[in-house]
């Protein structure tokens, strides 16, 4: 039977992270001359969410630039949505070959929280490791354009009088944590309603089924005038007008809610890193080149997202992000777990 408590997975995770960094140091020495030929066939990218979603879009967008630095490789995509990403991670760990030809492109924020909450068999640090992030975006709260609510202050005041409903793609998600933390800090009452994805969640807010919605900010920016962004879970609003000049949440309420963001990035089997350090080195270096290539930022901008969405992070930075996320999951996990009968 499943239970909903969080067991500290940080230690095992940290151990894995240290090992990953070690493996990287090992791989820095040129072990083989044959590595220049990598990859000889298509690279498979597993996406733990559905086709047509944000991760799918970003993976494909990134790959168009990445292939330049990766021997003109071609990419194959497969989708394993389900149980907040758990299905995809378990499949990646158990069923795909650890040979550096199989990578996972995930949503680091929500999926690390999922790992803490749902304890899948595939363990971060032991079975797989995130080795880079390509993008990063803050969480926000927004309302549909027809909503009577026009500011975060107003929303919180309302939520002190009655329970305010908030659409979210899923409970184990940094955006959900943000809303619950805001409720805890201000005494406002929020009810999270999981809609299973960014698109249906936004739709619920736009059509007025729920009072507001919480999602990563690019979802809201792309919806342009259809929505009004009320607040951001970041230190400052670097998007300005694009994000409706919404104030950061802590500036309004003087609270100390941690910054909440989600990165997208690649994960790889730990075993693949150890067995094929030469291949892994090529992957890691080429990802970095592609992520820092202005062509990638151009593509992102062309697709209607802010340029600042692109934020490369290497292995250490990504490991640190994952640690922060695990700490958050531990702190706020009890708010997301169901009340026992």
């Amino acid at each position: 039977m499943k239970d909903f408590t969080i067991t500290p997975t940080r230690r095992s995770f940290l151990k894995g992270g240290a090992m990953a960094v070690g493996a990287g140091a090992l791989s820095a020495s040129p072990l083989s001359k044959a590595w220049a030929a990598f990859p000889e066939r298509n690279i498979s990218i597993l996406i733990p969410t559905g086709e047509g979603g944000g991760a799918d879009r970003d993976a494909r967008m990134f790959a168009t630039v990445w292939r330049k630095y990766l021997n003109n490789a071609n990419f194959e995509y497969s989708y394993y949505p389900g149980a907040a990403g758990q299905v995809g991670y378990e499949f990646y760990a158990a069923k795909s070959e650890p040979d550096c030809y199989n990578l996972l492109f995930g949503n680091l924020g929500p999926e690390i929280i999922m790992q803490a909450m749902q304890k899948p068999k595939a363990t971060l640090g032991k079975d797989f490791i995130y080795f880079c992030q390509t993008t990063d975006e803050t969480m926000c709260i927004f309302v549909g354009k027809n909503s009577k609510i026009t500011s975060i202050q107003q929303l919180v005041d309302e939520a002190k009088k009655r329970v305010v409903t908030v659409a979210t793609s899923r409970l184990p998600h940094p955006a959900s944590i943000g809303v619950l933390a805001l409720g805890e800090a201000t005494g406002a009452k929020f009810q999270l309603v999981p809609f299973g994805g960014g698109n249906p969640s936004a739709m619920a807010a736009i059509t007025g089924e729920v009072d507001c919605c919480t999602l990563p900010i690019t979802n809201a920016i792309q919806l342009d005038k259809e929505v009004l962004i009320l607040t951001l879970f970041s230190k400052q609003n670097v998007f300005g007008e694009m994000a409706d000049n919404a104030p950061p949440v802590n500036d309004v309420f003087g609270t100390k809610i941690p910054e909440l963001s989600s990165s997208r990035g690649f994960a790889i089997h730990v075993k693949a890193m150890e067995t094929y350090p030469d291949r892994f080195q090529i992957i890691e270096e080429s990802v970095k080149k592609a992520a820092l290539d202005p062509e990638y930022a151009d593509l992102v901008e062309k697709a209607g997202m802010p340029r600042s969405f692109v934020r490369y992070g290497g292995r250490e930075e990504t490991v640190a992000f994952a640690q922060d996320m695990l700490a958050l999951a531990e702190k706020y996990g009890s708010l997301l777990a169901p009340k026992k009968k």
Binding site: M1, K2, D3, E76, S78, P338, K339, K340, K341
Partner: protein
């Protein structure tokens, strides 16, 4: 009742044993399902409990109905409905065996060769004896399937010797 009429009554008995297979499977699954959700919060339980209990009640109604019919001597528990026509049992079983073999073998032998062997075997099992058909149909399905699914659409069907050979050749 005369013996003649009694005999007639007996021959008219309907066999309902086979009719109980689906309800037993359904109720079995419902009970297993309910067992798996016992510790869950209400929102994860409500649907399963409603469906499972309704399903079990429906199955109970059917069992009561069948029991009443059995008491009245109208039915027996034969499996005729499932098995008839009896003459088809061997070919049906071979066809089923081949279908199961298809999914067991395909990861190793690959899509093209497995399809060829499966179609050939099934045609033989179902009584096709025309040599022309036995050559043309398996060939057509295997090559057509390869060209359409693998060469054109690049779907990730399991690859075997033929796919590897063709991939090397081109």
């Amino acid at each position: 009742m005369s013996t003649e009429a009694a005999r007639q009554g007996q021959t008219k008995k309907r066999s309902v044993g086979a009719d109980l297979v689906i309800p037993i499977m359904a109720a079995g699954y419902a009970l297993y399902y309910i067992y798996t959700i016992l510790d869950y919060p209400m929102e994860a339980q409500i649907n399963g409990l409603f469906l499972g209990l309704t399903l079990c009640s429906l199955v109970a109604v059917l069992f009561v109905r069948v029991a009443a019919q059995w008491f009245r001597g109208e039915v027996d528990f034969g499996m005729h409905r499932l098995l008839t026509p009896l003459s088809m049992i061997p070919s049906r079983l071979i066809f089923l065996g081949l279908t199961i073999a298809y999914i067991v073998v395909i990861p190793w032998v690959g899509f093209t060769l497995t399809t060829f062997l499966f179609v050939l075997g099934s045609l033989l099992a179902l009584g096709v004896r025309s040599k022309k058909l036995l050559v043309v149909m398996p060939m057509l399905s295997a090559t057509g399937g390869y060209v359409f699914f693998i060469a054109m659409l690049n779907t990730r069907f399991p690859k075997g010797p033929i796919e590897n050979f063709l991939a090397g050749a081109f």
